[in-house]
């Protein structure tokens, strides 16, 4: 090493001497050392004129002297192994100080299997958690509604005790305030959203991105609390097996089959066919209230997708989905006297087609133009006791996005137009309602980056709604890296949402309460702001992180669903006064040993709404929630296990008519624990998994109030605060051909 330095010094000296007779360009190559917080010389960097093969190398001071070129201006290249090659346009002979940057290090192919099951980025200014397939496999995960069991950010709960409809909660607010997307296309809108979470099978998913806050303007104006984007497995992804089969069964009689087949036709075209089917026959009434604990259900779900790469400029995708789902629940036997039986029957039929057409410019990687098309037809027919609700919804969606940079990659922008057509024909107890939304819109999003330290995304969106005229939704996201391991993120944004009273609140039909609309309901508007702190560390090669999220949502207008004010009605009215949600979440992730890790999270959701003059916590939202998860595997990955314990705090209840058998309903539910456990054994050609959900067999004893008299006033199946189903024992097999 010493002699090399010596030789270099001689070379530089020699060049310096020779340069006395011929003009030469001198300079210094440096890099910014993050650890030492100072500029350090880069020794041995290659410096040469573009198009030539001779040049020089920088000495131990980082200095170099390069013979002047034949003519100026000329391009000088600085290259060094492990660093980004720099090219500088030299216009005149003057001292050049050049700062070079390390290349983004490519992770080794040998991806450590122990960590990274939920990835929190240090680059993305948006507060996005990336839930990988590995995380999804930790729970039984039959469909999207069960994919959040180890995730503290999103809660999933049954909306009522009879229909089987599930709802997510994000930042304390219902799922209707977050946007569900599949591959960045808004989906499950309107009536499709009622059961939408159960229409996306687990094995089809490649990953889920959960973004807190209003999100990007590209996806529309609706998301208030967040965006959940589902990525499906892709036909041209070599990591996806060519054939996959999953067979799953549960003690309660639920059986499920998932299979897909992937085929690459040639360098340009590839396709995939995914099939899902599940069947459950009803037979359980553990709480003895005369109602089936879970509705019997059957679903068939098909998805065929194609991907085309022209090899040069065109990237395109298209696909078609078909779904048919039926649920039957309610009372097991008719009342001997009245001969009436409370039944619930819900049928969903859906056809969806989508296409993406993108134009890329290989010489200009920052420039692209994309088009998204989507069309869907959805039919929902539901009977809940004596109440009938039917809807037919037709959707058409188009989005065109052009993206490019201004000068350099520090300034990027995305500009585009969108068009939404939504036609919903609803009938509630034979009373028809027609809703039509025609919304063209345009948006502009600008991203500013300063090295890796600071990034800002500012977006504005203007839509013209056929009924509500101009809708302006601005969004701002940013991040600041105090260090590589300590990141601060902030977001602020406005949202706009047109409510569908029946579809948004279909579970209100599972009670004898009258639905009362005293006025025309206005669109829901809200502001959401939040900050996130992420601190990462590494102890003995074991990674860990702590994130703190603080979010506030303030409604300017909201459709208040009031079950407090009148015990025999559900009142729907426009917000008068305040409605807000303050959400604080702490999440700790720590890899413990080579193949073990833990997650600990605690969340506070303070959701207060002005109900006719009285500020109350929103019903059925736990103010406190905690989650603990431990996962591990043997060294050869042949055995994997997962254990999760969730603590759900007290929730406010609104039933005020007492139950004929059990008396007065308390104002608050008790807090409780739920435990889940799963073990997976890897064999040479297949995988076996099995586990238990709700290990402690904790159940809400009386989920249905006045179940003995479902047609009387006082019947209420909406006060579901805990699990209705007790312990679930399941097992399954996964087989794949790579």
């Amino acid at each position: 090493m010493l002699s090399k330095k010596y030789i270099q010094s001689i070379i530089v000296f020699g060049l310096t001497i020779s340069s006395a007779f011929a003009q030469s360009l001198t300079g210094k190559i440096v890099e910014w050392d993050e650890g030492m917080k100072m500029e350090m010389p880069v020794i041995g960097a290659n410096v040469y004129w573009s198009g030539t093969t001779t040049g020089t190398t920088s000495n131990e001071e980082g200095e170099f002297a390069l013979t002047a070129p034949v003519s100026l201006p000329a391009t000088m290249i600085v290259s060094y192994v492990g660093y980004q090659t720099d090219s500088i346009l030299i216009k005149n002979i003057s001292f050049q100080k050049i700062r070079i940057k390390k290349s983004v290090e490519l992770k080794e192919v040998e991806v450590s299997s122990r960590q990274g099951s939920t990835i929190i980025s240090t680059i993305n200014p948006m507060n996005t958690e990336h839930v990988t397939e590995k995380e999804l496999l930790k729970a039984a995960c039959c469909n999207l509604s069960e994919s959040f069991e180890t995730n503290p950010t999103v809660n999933v709960a049954y909306k009522d005790a009879v229909t089987g409809a599930k709802e997510i909660q994000l930042l304390g607010l219902s799922g209707i305030y977050s946007q569900l997307l599949t591959e960045n296309i808004p989906t499950m809108r309107g009536i499709a959203g009622v059961y939408g979470l159960t229409f996306i099978p687990g094995p089809w998913m490649d990953g889920i991105q959960i973004t807190k806050g209003t999100g990007s303007v590209l996806n529309g104006y609706e998301s208030t609390t967040g965006q959940i984007n589902v990525e499906f497995k892709k036909p041209d992804d070599k990591k996806v097996p060519h054939f996959f089969l999953n067979v799953f069964g549960e003690e309660n009689g639920n059986a499920e089959v998932n299979t897909f087949y992937r085929h690459v036709l040639n360098d340009h075209l590839s396709t995939m066919l995914m099939v899902h089917g599940n069947y459950m026959n009803r037979s359980i009434d553990r709480n003895g209230d005369g109602f089936y604990d879970l509705p019997a259900s059957s679903q068939i779900n098909l998805y065929n997708r194609w991907q085309y790469h022209s090899g040069k400029n065109v990237e395109s995708q298209f696909g078609i989905k078909f779904l048919s789902d039926e649920r039957d629940g309610g009372q097991i036997a008719a009342d001997p006297l009245s001969k009436l039986r409370f039944i619930t029957n819900i049928v969903n039929r859906r056809v969806e087609a989508f296409g993406k057409l993108g134009f890329v410019f290989p010489e200009k990687p920052a420039k692209s133009f994309g088009n998204i098309f989507q069309a869907s037809y959805h039919e929902l027919n539901s009977q809940i006791g004596l109440k009938l609700y039917n809807g037919i919804q037709k959707n058409l969606y188009y989005e065109g996005i052009y993206q490019n940079i201004i000068g350099n990659t520090d300034h990027q922008y995305k500009a585009g137009i969108a068009f939404l057509y939504e036609h919903l024909d609803e009938t509630y107890n034979f009373h028809p309602v027609v809703n039509e939304q025609v919304v063209p819109g345009m948006f502009l999003e600008y991203t500013y980056s300063y090295l890796e330290k600071f990034k800002l995304i500012a977006g504005i969106r203007e839509d013209y709604h056929n009924e509500y005229k101009w809708v302006f939704t601005p969004r701002l996201h940013g991040k600041y890296n105090f260090t590589d391991d300590f990141i601060f993120r902030f977001s602020a944004g406005k949202s706009f949402r047109v409510p569908y009273v029946y579809a948004d609140n279909i579970s209100m039909l599972a009670s004898s309460r009258q639905l009362v609309f005293s006025e025309k309901l206005n669109p829901e508007k809200a502001w959401n702001y939040g900050v996130n702190f992420t601190r990462r560390w590494e102890v003995d090669h074991h990674e860990g992180s702590l994130t703190v999220d603080l979010y506030r949502t303030d409604f300017i207008n909201q459709v208040v669903v009031d079950q407090y004010s009148d015990s025999s009605s559900v009142l729907f009215y426009n917000l008068v006064g305040k409605s807000y949600s303050n959400s604080i979440q702490f999440t700790l992730n720590q890899d413990v040993m080579e193949n073990f890790g833990i997650r600990l999270a605690y969340k506070i959701d303070d959701v207060q709404i002005n109900y006719q003059g009285l500020m109350q916590q929103k019903p059925l939202v736990a103010k406190n929630r905690a989650l603990f998860n431990i996962f591990g595997a043997t060294n050869n990955q042949h055995w994997k296990f997962d254990y999760t314990i969730v603590w759900e705090g007290k929730q406010k209840l609104t039933a005020s008519i007492p139950d004929a058998e059990f008396g007065n309903i308390p104002a608050e539910s008790p807090d409780y624990f739920v435990m889940n456990f799963q073990v997976t054994k890897l064999f040479k050609r297949f995988e076996l998994y099995g586990g238990m959900e709700n290990l402690l067999d904790f159940r809400q004893e009386h989920p249905i109030i006045n179940a003995q008299n479902p047609f009387s006033t006082g019947f209420d199946a909406t006060q579901v605060w805990g699990p209705i189903e007790g312990r679930r024992i399941y097992a399954g097999l996964r087989y794949q051909i790579k």
């Binding site: 192919v109 591990g632 060294n635 050869n636 990955q637 040479k684 402690l696 790579k738």
Partner: protein, 113 residues
């Protein structure tokens, strides 16, 4: 419930304890691996061979470093196992039937990496 937890803790302890008493040796074998899928395939299938503790294939050198229990297996058996997966192992040629089953990027003629 308590019984389940105790059984699991016992099982996990046994796994760790038994691994301490093995006689570990290492062998480096040259293979005809080409792409990521070859690496995954070789490492995955080898992990099910008796006596093999772990394996790591370097795609640049195509050499797989195998840690094994010399009381349960030996270098020759490991080479044979690799040929059964469909790859050459040092001077030992791949089993033709297994070679046919390999994905496209793992076959010699393919330029797909």
């Amino acid at each position: 419930m308590r019984k389940i937890i105790f059984t699991l803790v016992f099982m996990m302890t046994s796994f760790f304890v038994s691994s301490i008493y093995a006689q570990n040796d290492t062998v480096r074998i040259k293979t005809t691996a080409i792409c990521d899928q070859c690496k995954e395939r070789i490492e995955h299938d080898l992990s099910f061979e008796k006596g093999i503790k772990s394996s790591n294939l370097d795609l640049d050198t195509k050499i797989v470093t195998v840690v094994y229990n010399s009381k349960k297996t030996d270098e020759q058996k490991i080479r044979e196992a690799i040929t059964k997966i469909g790859y050459d192992a040092d001077s030992l040629a791949a089993d033709p039937k297994s070679y046919k089953k390999l994905p496209a990027c793992c076959k010699h003629e393919s330029t797909d990496h």
